[in-house]
Symmetry: C2
Subunit: 330 residues, 2 copies
DNA sequence: GCACCTCGTCTAATCGATTAGATGGATGGA
DNA sequence: TCCATCCATCTAATCGATTAGACGAGGTGC
């Protein structure tokens, strides 16, 4: 708010109007460290309301060294997995009365580092980093600046920054077992471009369980790349009968590629994805997934920012049976 | 950064180390309003580098009344239309050296108002509001606080806040004409829960062009709602032969509902969506859309924040022919 | 040689909110 | 009645960066 002249209303304006000092106004605004007489409190509140006073958080931030803002750096908010995480992080932050700065790094570690620097310059109270891959630890400058940081989904724990992930091992095993229960002996795996961090372990776990004859496919973490891959395989008549996609994003590309190439899903190609995003419920056919507890993960990541002693998650992924694996709809 | 004791490095520390006053350090850091001797500049730069000085933007913000942060309030970042807009807004802001606070309002005007208040309290330099609907103008407090605001996609222009939209009329006409070219005489329209603002006009335009016998459907702006609607219609054998969906999100739900109900698209039901998000390229079947110039819209919205004289957009939507309308893939 | 200007730098006020320390009036106990 | 408390409030320092005004040294013009 501002007065008619355009000057924003300050504490001092309210104090003047209420006939008190700024200290008292501050005490009232914050249920401050000292008590205020009831009558005075009323006067101050009334004055603030009349003037439309809105405290300047910047000034408060300067004094109190906390901005009420946390930065979220993520790979790609258009990927529904990261998009959903972002939503849950925002909600968890709201529970701590924090606002969220967001920055898309587009799967580039360099850009992640840039965003971390910018967010630190903006004096964020904390950083959540949701990377697709786990290369060098991008939170190093945060540690130097003594700003708490957390990796979510994937990231390097080398520097001591905590990492919140679902139980990838169990998810892969469950997906594999389910496809086997549908009668598939050979189950291929569609991985990302590289295997890094705990998420990269998904591939290793599949490899160990599926045997060395199983087919490993790779594509970028995008619908377009997975779509193109499937069309290529279809042209070469090399499409597997069953496939675990490392991410929903890739699985959705598999579905559209299969549709375009006239490959029936699940008849000709059964698919399970490992993420479990909201999008999987409304694909054609609907996508069977091992759904990660995204909300719980986001909540824990945020809680860790404010209390490093937050207890770990059970964080099991849950198999959601839909149609892409061969199950009938419930 | 901070010294070993944990105290963050300030301008004064750098000044002390370089043997100058804080003013000179500031001049160097900003190529300040006054010149500095080359030798001194070197000393200052060296001192800053050695100490790992990172300017405190909060302090700067207090003094200069600009935080370098803009708030984006949007209906739902998981809806790929708004998600894509958010991405483009972020990029446009990066061009202005601004960071982006984001807040999901979940299609609730009340929550939009709350977020506007919080962002204003955080002293944002500007606000971009991307609402699904256009009810009361939620930017009123921004105007009072003299913070520039822009509506993107839809919103009330009653209070003078500018609105950046694509040419909805042309998009609807083009979609309708295209379905007619495929031989459909009756083209239904799947609208949102209510018709507000320029986006609500889409329905009126369709109504005027399609005639009063044409079927109007409504659902929430979600995949689940559109999916459920189509299944219901299928059970009642009341599915139209051709349909324009107001949003991609609804169209995707239509596709999944049609798939589940064994309705061939486009054979039994032809579909065109009016948004044109990246997701439409990888549905089964792929989605024909009138693609709005999302990036140009976001760019213009952001430019308007910093220069109200930014010229208007041509902002035509472009028909992207894919398969859901009956076209063959290119 | 003197007045005057320029350049480089320093001093200190400022942005707005917070809060420790000081102050003064009222209350209670002896 | 006098002193010790206590409560409500005020005064002023503080957070860190910015920048107008002051200042001194060196250079120029006449």
């Amino acid at each position: 708010m501002s007065d008619p002249a355009g000057r924003p209303i300050t504490l001092a304006d309210v104090a003047r109007r209420a006939g008190t000092s700024t200290a008292v106004v501050s005490y009232v605004m914050n249920d401050g460290p000292r008590p205020v007489a009831a009558a005075t409190r009323e006067r101050v509140l009334a004055a603030a309301a009349e003037l439309g006073y809105r405290p300047n958080r910047i000034a408060r931030a300067l004094r109190s060294r906390t901005t009420g803002v946390v930065g979220l750096v993520l790979a790609d908010a258009l990927n529904p997995y990261f998009g959903a995480l972002a939503r849950h992080v925002e909600q968890a932050l709201a529970g701590h009365e924090r606002l969220m700065l967001i920055g898309n790094a587009g799967y580039s570690a360099e850009r992640e580092r840039q965003l971390v620097e910018r967010f630190l310059a903006a004096q964020v109270d904390g950083l959540v980093i949701a990377s697709a891959d786990a290369g060098d630890d991008v939170t190093v400058p945060a540690r130097a600046a003594r700003v708490p940081a957390v990796h979510l989904h994937n990231g390097s724990t080398a520097g001591g920054t905590p990492l919140v992930t679902a139980d990838n091992e169990q998810a892969v095993r469950e997906a594999l077992a389910h496809l086997r229960a549908h009668g598939h002996r050979d189950v291929a795996f569609l991985a990302g471009p590289q295997d890094t961090g705990p998420v990269g372990r998904r591939r290793e776990i599949w490899q160990a369980a599926a045997g060395s004859s199983a087919v490993l496919l790779r594509s970028d973490y995008s619908r377009a790349a997975a779509d193109a891959l499937i069309r290529r395989l279809a042209a070469a008549d090399a499409v597997p009968r069953a496939l675990i996609a490392a991410t929903d994003e890739q699985a959705i590309g598999v579905l559209s590629g299969a549709y375009a190439a006239d490959l029936a899903v699940p008849g000709r190609l059964a698919v399970i994805a490992l993420d479990g995003t909201p999008d999987g419920a409304h694909t054609a056919p609907s996508l069977t997934v091992t759904a990660q507890p995204l909300q719980a993960m986001a909540q824990r990541a945020v809680d860790l920012l404010f209390d490093p002693a937050t207890p770990p998650l059970p964080a099991r992924a849950v198999l959601v049976r839909r149609r892409s694996c061969g199950c009938e709809e419930g």
